[in-house]
């Protein structure tokens, strides 16, 4: 005959992973590059940085003329 096991024992949740919060902050401080260390710049996390270096400067004034082009050809039903 099988012994009954209490549901509390069967359903025990796995313990949450332990981690070293100070070590996590230290990793951030190693790589953070702004003045106050409140953010880590990630321009290099995508191809953006390399592409921007290859691009010609983009004019910022007087480039828009005329009405905007339509986004959709057909109305969404």
């Amino acid at each position: 005959m099988r012994r009954r096991v209490s549901s509390g024992a069967r359903r025990r949740e796995p313990e949450p992973p332990t981690y070293d919060a100070a070590a996590i902050q230290a990793l951030f401080d190693t790589w953070a590059d702004d003045v106050e260390g409140g953010a880590m710049g990630m321009d290099g996390a995508s191809p953006r940085a390399g592409v921007i270096r290859r691009r010609a400067p983009v004019p910022t004034r007087g480039t828009r003329s005329g009405p905007r082009a339509p986004i959709y050809r057909r109305a969404i039903p």
Binding site: P17, D20, M40, A45, A75
Partner: protein, 168 residues
């Protein structure tokens, strides 16, 4: 050394750093805040470079289910914006799209060739997300494309151009 260097990842060809930043919960373009880093690293249980390297090595965004990948794909666009811009330049898209979407689209090369020659200079979030939806729905021979569908004009023009090129 920056994070890419520490993780030995080339961001120009490897999507895993973007996948990590998505997992960590970065919300602003091109940066991660200290609070986001602390919460995200605790959530994934990484408190050393060795653990982080192992975690990143196991990241495989192209194997995610459709819903998760859609979320990740949207993140890639939002994270790759410049400042408060709501669009991305098309040459950034040309570099970003192949590594972001991987082999989940058969249209990537032909769409980028079309985009290169089109008068469009910037891509919106809607166009970016619609491309993923389009890739899931429309076959390489455009089977599944409906003339009366509601794709962004950019994708309608892509189909028209590709069909015209094939007819020549």
């Amino acid at each position: 050394m920056d994070l890419c260097g520490a993780l030995e990842i080339d961001p120009a060809s490897d999507v895993r750093l973007l996948a990590l930043l998505w997992r960590l919960g970065a919300k602003q373009p091109a940066l991660i805040l200290r609070e986001e880093w602390a919460e995200g690293m605790a959530a994934i249980g990484c408190d050393s470079l060795e653990k982080l390297k192992a975690y990143v090595e196991a990241l495989e965004p192209h194997a995610m289910d459709r819903r998760a990948f859609r979320d990740f794909f949207k993140f890639v666009f939002l994270f790759s914006r410049e400042g408060t811009h709501r669009t991305i330049e098309k040459d950034i898209v040309a570099a970003l799209l192949p590594i972001a979407i991987g082999d989940r689209s058969a249209h990537t090369a032909s769409f980028l060739a079309f985009l290169e020659n089109s008068s469009t200079t910037r891509v919106t979030l809607d166009q970016w997300c619609s491309f993923l939806e389009f890739s899931d729905t429309v076959a390489p021979d455009f089977e599944g494309y409906e003339e009366d569908g509601a794709w962004p004009l950019l994708l309608d023009e892509y189909v028209e151009q590709a069909r015209a090129d094939k007819a020549v």
